[in-house]
Symmetry: C2
Subunit: 199 residues, 2 copies
């Protein structure tokens, strides 16, 4: 729901709601079976919206929908990072809460749903520059948030930036192994190793 | 080239050569644009082989070709891991040599070619169980090799196993960030952080 409209007309609100549901459905599908493995027809069938609603909200096509999905993931996981650091006693506990979020998603989906951005990032190439940029900006955003939280916990700026990048690398990689091995163990082991560097 | 045949007929040798080239072409394409993003027609056009050669060597279709590509990657990168630990003075230097290999591949391909297994692993789902298993076995093989090398360098078995898994997580994740940011920095930063844990 757009915050730019304080009194949206019912019609506008309904359109925003349709757009949001389309983006959520797309993100879920990209997460489980990839960007290229997701057909727009299948997406419309599953979400129950008419083809016209897709063309109306995403006139530039699938890549535009992909960019919107990455922006949704960026905001959702970014908010998850912020919340974890707000409620946790220390950075290690915060990373464990972040791992809990990913572990729950993996387990409830039968290990189908890992990081919603990574699959798309690996598929995005020269033929989808907008999508590639949206993925890169998402990782940058998460690293900036992690850096800010590590600095707030007392770490020097340079060390915080390096550890934030490394923590994201380690967690993204662990998510791949966790999905592949159908076990959340690699995720929690990654947090345990990171905790040794956070001391 | 099969080692089971000491005196292959020229015809057999030619068939094995065709199979090998098809698998290499498939692996390169999966690495750059994903399993689902790779069309068999495009692959045949680029490799110059007739469609019949694909059906002959991979009668079960694309997934069978995918499994063979993952087995090729498993052997190639596995051998790279072994060589790195054989020539390096210590585990940190070995990880740096492994990073060098991935960095060269990223740079010569304009950051298109990251880990050849990860993209496929993330795309593989319930509809391609053979491919999913081949990816999981590949990661397991690499972790076993890393574990053996860390043990040979004097590390206890349990710690070696955990660090091997974590090192693979960190390097795989760093490869994703490196590809996305078009910079090899995350890869070498990951090795620097891992070196702190290897001490």
């Amino acid at each position: 729901m757009s915050k730019n409209h304080e009194n949206p007309s019912p019609r506008h609100a309904k359109g925003e709601d349709t757009r949001k549901k389309l983006v959520e459905a797309a993100l879920g599908s990209f997460q489980a079976q990839g960007y290229r493995g997701t057909g727009l027809s299948q997406l419309l069938n599953e979400s129950g919206f008419p083809r016209g609603s897709l063309y109306f909200h995403f006139p530039d096509g699938k890549e535009q929908l992909g960019v919107a999905a990455m922006q949704l993931a960026r905001g959702e996981i970014g908010a998850g990072i912020d919340t974890a650091f707000e409620v946790a006693k220390n950075p290690t506990e915060a990373l464990r809460l972040i791992a809990d979020g990913f572990a729950a998603e993996l387990e409830t989906s039968g290990f189908a749903r890992g990081c919603p951005v990574t699959t798309v990032a690996l598929e995005a190439g020269d033929d989808t520059p907008g999508l590639r940029d949206a993925c890169a900006q998402t990782y940058d955003d998460w690293i900036e948030r992690l850096t800010a939280h590590l600095k707030a916990a007392g770490m020097g700026a340079a060390r915080a930036g390096r550890l934030a990048t490394f923590a994201l690398s380690a967690i993204e990689g662990a998510l791949i192994l966790a999905r592949s091995r159908r076990s959340t163990a690699p995720l929690y082991e990654a947090v345990d190793e990171l905790s040794l560097l956070l001391k």
